[in-house]
Structure formats: C-alpha cells, structure tokens
Subunit: 173 residues, 2 copies
Amino acid sequence: MGDSSLTPTSYVVLGLVGALGSCTSYDMKSAIAVSIGYFWPFPHSQLYAEPARLTELGLLEQEQETTGRRRRTYTLTAAGRNALRRWLAEPTDEPTEIRDLAILKLFFGAQADPGDVKGLALHAVDAHRRRLAEYETIARGLDIEAHQRTTLEMGLRYERAAVAFWTEVANSE
Amino acid sequence: MGDSSLTPTSYVVLGLVGALGSCTSYDMKSAIAVSIGYFWPFPHSQLYAEPARLTELGLLEQEQETTGRRRRTYTLTAAGRNALRRWLAEPTDEPTEIRDLAILKLFFGAQADPGDVKGLALHAVDAHRRRLAEYETIARGLDIEAHQRTTLEMGLRYERAAVAFWTEVANSE
DNA sequence: GGGTACATGTAATCAGTTACATGATTTA
DNA sequence: TAAATCATGTAACTGATTACATGTACCC
C-alpha cells in the first residue's frame, strides 16, 4: 500500500528527484513542462511546497546554497526511494480521468446555438493538431528514456484519435 | 467570455438543470454517474454546494418541498440559460488533461523493480476492458441524445486505444 | 547599464475531497 | 417491523490554484 499522506504530486516529485539524481524545484518544473505535465499539469508553486513536505517526512534530503540564489537541491533518502518503489510496484484501480472542456461542451451540445458545436469541433481539431506536432517534435529527440518514450507514444495516439474524432464531429454538424 | 467566478462544475450543474428541465441534486448525481462522470468525476457534495452558489448568483431558481424529504428542485433562470449558452458558444483553449496514475507509474518505470511495469500493464488492460464493456452497455441504450452519444463514442475510442496500448506494453516488458 | 527573460520563492484564497450524519423508502 | 439501501444533506480540512514579489543572469 502507498502511504495515504502522499498524493500523486508527492510521487511525481519523488520520481523526478529519483530520475534526475538530484535536482531543484526549477529542474522539476522544466522536466514536467516537456513531459508528464502535458497529461497532468502541476503548477510550479507546488513543486516548491511539496519537496518541503517530503523533507519533513524524511523522504527527501535538502541542501541549500549559502550564496547567490540560495537554491535548494533535493535528493532521495533511502526511505524516499522505498516509498517510490512500493508505489511503482502497486497497480492502480483509479480510473483515468479525461478532463476536457470541449468534451463537456459537446455533451451539452443540444442546448447550444446552431453552429456552436461545429465551431467547437473545428477549434478542437486545430488545438489537437498543434499538440500532436509538439509531441512529434519531442519524439524526434534521441535521448529519451524508454518508458518515457512509451508514455509519449500514448500521448501521440490520443492526439491522433482526437484529431480524427473532432474532424468527424465537425463534418457531421 | 465566460464568467470567471464559474468553474466547470458550475457549468455542468447549469447544463444538467437545462437538459433535465428541472432537477434535484440527486438527479444530477444520477445523471453524472452514467455519463460525463466517467471522464470528469464530480463528488456529490459539490452537487449540493454548487447549486446553492448558483442560486445566490441568480442563475438558478430553487424550490423546496415543505414536507417529506424537503428536497430542493432547481430550474434555470433566464440569466442561467444565457450564461450556459455563452459558455457553449465559446470554444476552449484549455488543453485536455489525462490524469491516469498508471501512466504516471509507467513514466517512472525505469525506477521500478523488474516485472512491476508488466504487472501494471496487465492490470491496466483489465481495467480498460471492463470500462469498455460498461460503455458498450450504455451505448446499447436507445434513448441517448445525439451529442451525448457522440461523447460516449469518444470514450469508446479512448478505451479501445488504451487496451491496445497497454497490451503492447505488457508484451514488450 | 538598462531591459528582458530566467529563476525562486511566499501568501492568501478556495474549490474540491473526505468524512460524518441522518431521514425516507423499500423489501423481506 | 427490522434491515438495508436510497436519498439528502453538512462540516472540516487541505491540496491546489492564483496572485504576488523579488532576485539573478544575460544580452543588446
């Protein structure tokens, strides 16, 4: 069982610190911005608050510069690495949440004015095409770790499916 | 522009009251449980709190039974219907969020113990198959409004893609 | 050396979640 | 009529968001 006082945010922080060896909050922010943050955004303020909490809990170790930016660098403790491992070992029953305002609006389409749903769909096609292009750019990079590349593959498939879906919706309205 | 004091929850409530003509919080809960709640869950407590707020704002009208369960029935006001229409008319730039703990764990797969990712994938295949079956059951229903059926279609596609994806992940681990 | 973007944080607020609690209806 | 479950809410907490604030490095 995962510790119930730890949220997904906690594990993302632990996972990033583990993956990067040691890092600052800003490093986490940068890493998230081009990877998992596309699926699940974490505002940077949490990436400052959460490591502090995890340090309290003994899962991270903190070292602060005494000069210049006085930035804090975090490392996993043994307890932190164990917590992460246990979490990774345990499959999840939490179903996927797909939070998409466009889908929400589509759902209530019967109450929209004529043409609104079509406009919504066209806009969505465009948005998903752009995101697909971003993913393809990232995928062209050579230095991506295998599992991260697999994650990205899921994103690519989702975006392709979304482009196809919204195109059909636009055509049928 | 949508009113910035209104959250997605607000619009779901407005949309449901509009779609159902008039309803109680429990009616909303029931409707969500078999539809949009699969993508974007709203805990029932919010479906009691939010209509109260919207009534304050003049977007809903409330009528309460004086006997029995004393339940509150809500109806859209003209202002409420307008707010909903304006929201529906405006396409969104908010990108889709796909919150999935399994994807998060996959992303950090390099730090997992051998076999963990495979276990995760097999579990996910199963979970997505089950959800796919639920969607197919709902889709068999004859009384679904067209846009709601389209929304469901997106769900079906997502689940099929997820089953395929996680099957491949399981096989490659 | 002044502007701009990068980097690092804090504070206040609030939506959302979890937990609690109880009344009403149905069914065995 | 007792148990179970359906239905309707409230309360407390807190993670997350938004907004604020400032320091540092780089570039023209």
